[in-house]
């Protein structure tokens, strides 16, 4: 498929951002090889994925240059670690929201001076990228938004705040009650004021409506892609579907939307001509659980090289995060802020208690995507998801839906063990 290389000719820009160039070079090399091994080895990929290959090859290059140029024009960059941070509010202030990925181990020794070893890999990765000075998104951001979601993140942001002077922590409710909703609304109001102060831009109902329409369009594109993954035959791999979802967090919205629709047009043609990507029938798997941030491709790679295909993700980087549009019918600031609050309040992350809607959503996805089985993914030390895994498995068993619970981290030492479990699970489905 030709050589894949992550663009690395931006030394002066990276230097200006304060990156550690040697560590950064090493990271790009590993990332490039990983991407080539995992993504480019796939057969029969839709041509539309070429855009995403390009985005990945320029992941620290062109996209960063775009952000640096925006800053030079006076725009602000806001980094976020969670789908609860409303992109609508950021866009309405003429700023850009970028998801900060935390999908790989880095600088673990340095991280363990700040965090206990028994912390989830996602949180440790966020620290590692900061301590290692290898993330240009982090260094470009004018404001980094943390959130009080799980205990791990809550306490970790206290330390992260000592490493950067632009950390803003958003509080989130734990219960989906009237009071919980009021808290979310008031936190979104507080965030709106903070973004206005950061950017010097006053957010108006008109700019908020405009922002809502852009973010809704992005969601719409992702919904369209997801719907096409429901088809039989399968026309796009789970790895590719995941990548599109991952890229949605930091790519230029308009360009992303256009590229996804182009990909979808191609997939529709494939479905019409019954041109699937698989040469034989394979078990259809739904992944459910913790989000997989870039460049975390480990589990989908194992699943799809073991003879299955992933047809959907019940995850924040996936349908849980992209589901539901924001109602844009309102005309006043209050109505629009309420609409935004209502939309985000529906996300059924395991940090909420109780979280029964998530059980319903998983079963709904099994049906919609014609999944043969569910693989539940919990990061080691993630209490919310590893604890929810048990009632999820029980509920699925009662509904006669095969389920496999996996708990793992970002390391490669347990790949053999995971393959054995996953292959045994697929043998069960066969």
């Amino acid at each position: 498929m030709g050589e894949f290389k992550i663009s690395s000719e931006y030394d002066s820009m990276w230097n200006m951002l304060g990156l550690n160039l040697d560590s950064h070079d090493a990271l790009l090399e590993v990332l490039g090889k990983g991407y080539a091994d995992i993504y480019l080895s796939q057969k029969g990929r839709p041509e539309g994925m070429g855009y995403f290959d390009f985005v990945m090859s320029e992941v620290h290059g062109l996209r960063i240059k775009e952000l640096v140029d925006e800053k030079e024009q006076g725009k602000k960059i806001v980094g976020s670690y969670c789908v609860f941070v409303p992109e609508e509010i950021v866009l309405a202030a003429n700023a850009t929201l970028v998801g900060l990925c935390s999908g790989a181990d880095f600088a673990l020794e340095a991280v363990e001076k700040y965090l206990p070893r028994n912390t989830c890999a996602l949180i440790k990765s966020a620290f590692g990228f900061k301590l290692g000075q290898v993330c240009p998104y982090l260094e470009t951001a004018d404001m980094v938004v943390g959130e009080n979601t799980c205990d791990g993140k809550k306490k970790a942001y206290e330390s992260l705040g000592t490493l950067m002077d632009n950390l803003y922590v958003m509080d989130l409710p734990q219960v989906k009650s009237g009071q919980g909703r009021d808290l979310l609304r008031s936190e979104y109001d507080r965030f709106r004021l903070a973004v206005e102060e950061l950017t010097g831009v006053v957010i108006t109902p008109a700019s908020l409506k405009q922002a809502i329409s852009i973010v809704n369009a992005k969601r719409g594109a992702l919904h369209r892609l997801a719907t096409l993954r429901q088809a039989d035959p399968v026309v796009i791999s789970g790895l590719d579907g995941l990548l599109a979802n991952q890229v949605s967090f930091y790519d230029n919205p308009e360009r992303f939307i256009g590229s996804v629709h182009k990909l979808c047009d191609e997939l529709e043609k494939r479905i019409q001509s019954n041109q699937g990507i698989l040469s034989e029938k394979r078990p259809r798997i739904l992944i459910s659980g913790c989000p997989m941030a870039v460049p975390n491709w480990k589990l989908p790679w194992i699943i799809e090289t073991s003879g299955a295909v992933i047809v959907g993700e019940e995850s924040c980087v996936g349908e849980r995060g992209a589901r539901n549009l924001t109602n844009d019918a309102g005309t006043t600031m209050d109505e629009l802020m309420d609409a935004i609050t209502d939309r985000y309040f529906k996300v059924d992350c395991a940090i909420f208690t109780p979280n029964r809607e998530r059980l319903d959503h998983i079963q709904e996805m099994v049906k919609n995507y014609q999944a043969d089985g569910v693989i539940h993914y919990g990061l080691q030390f993630c209490q919310p998801y590893t604890m929810e895994a048990i009632p999820v498995e029980t509920a699925l068993e009662e509904a006669n839906i095969p389920c496999l619970r996996i708990e793992t981290d970002y390391g490669m030492e347990d790949v053999g063990q995971l393959k054995t479990r996953i292959q045994a699970f697929l043998e069960m489905l066969g």
């Binding site: 054995t420 045994a424 043998e427």
Partner: protein, 236 residues
């Protein structure tokens, strides 16, 4: 390694250490037995598949299930404790794997644990189970980790604890882990016990006592994985 004919009758079997060059070892064994097709299972199955063009593979979960069913048709619970891992497998009434749990991340509760502890106490692996059965009192070992358990045993020896009682305590540690795994996949019915550790009479006795369920052991239990793999291949 197990060889079966098309009807599933066992023609030959043998066992040897994997060592540090498993492919050479496998080649040596295979050279002794005429065969038409090979199915590999276990940790090395991927390696085997690369080295032998016509080999197929299957996970040890499905393989152990098939092997055990050939001795005990209708079995719904299998416990396999090998040298390096342990697993509990629940089957539906018709021989299909329904649910499974594995411990393959550490030596606790595996044959390796028993091997190391036997050596520490001066027993051969064959004597160890009988010695443990012969203990008159129970003794609890707190550490699950092989490394820490070793230290704990050293302390107990220094305090003059009875060797057989220590042995029994160590066997009980293994059984507790196995029982936990079994309970998570199945709560009723007899348990078919496979893997090398199923040769240990004390483990058999303690599992049966702890769970209040019958424990059935096939002949040459350590052969169940290879047998199952061969039978699955024969049935294709």
């Amino acid at each position: 390694m197990v060889v079966v004919d098309e009807q599933g009758k066992i023609l030959d079997f043998c066992q040897s250490d994997t060592g540090f060059d498993p492919i050479t070892g496998a080649n040596r064994i295979l050279a002794e037995v005429p065969h038409d097709q090979i199915m590999a299972t276990g940790y090395g199955r991927g390696l085997f598949e690369t080295a032998f063009d016509d080999a197929q593979t299957i996970t040890e979960i499905k393989a152990h299930a098939r092997g055990c069913i050939s001795f005990f048709p209708g079995v719904t619970t299998i416990l396999d404790i090998g040298g390096q891992d342990s697993k509990a497998i629940a089957l539906n009434g018709r021989g299909r794997v329904k649910k499974f749990e594995m411990n393959d991340r550490c030596a606790a509760g595996t044959g390796k644990f028993l091997e190391i502890m036997a050596r520490n106490l001066g027993f051969s692996i064959d004597e160890f189970g009988l010695a443990a059965l012969g203990a008159e009192n129970d003794l609890s070992i707190n550490s699950m980790c092989t490394v820490f358990a070793e230290s704990e045993v050293t302390s107990l020896i220094a305090k003059g604890a009875d060797r057989k009682e220590i042995a029994r305590g160590l066997h009980l540690s293994v059984v507790k882990r196995a029982a936990g795994m079994i309970n998570r996949v199945s709560s009723l019915g007899p348990i078919v016990f496979s893997g090398g550790v199923a040769n240990n009479p004390c483990i058999i006795e303690l599992i049966s006592q702890k769970l209040g369920r019958e424990v059935l052991v096939p002949e040459t239990p350590q052969m169940m994985g290879a047998l199952g793999a061969a039978l699955i291949l024969a049935e294709k």
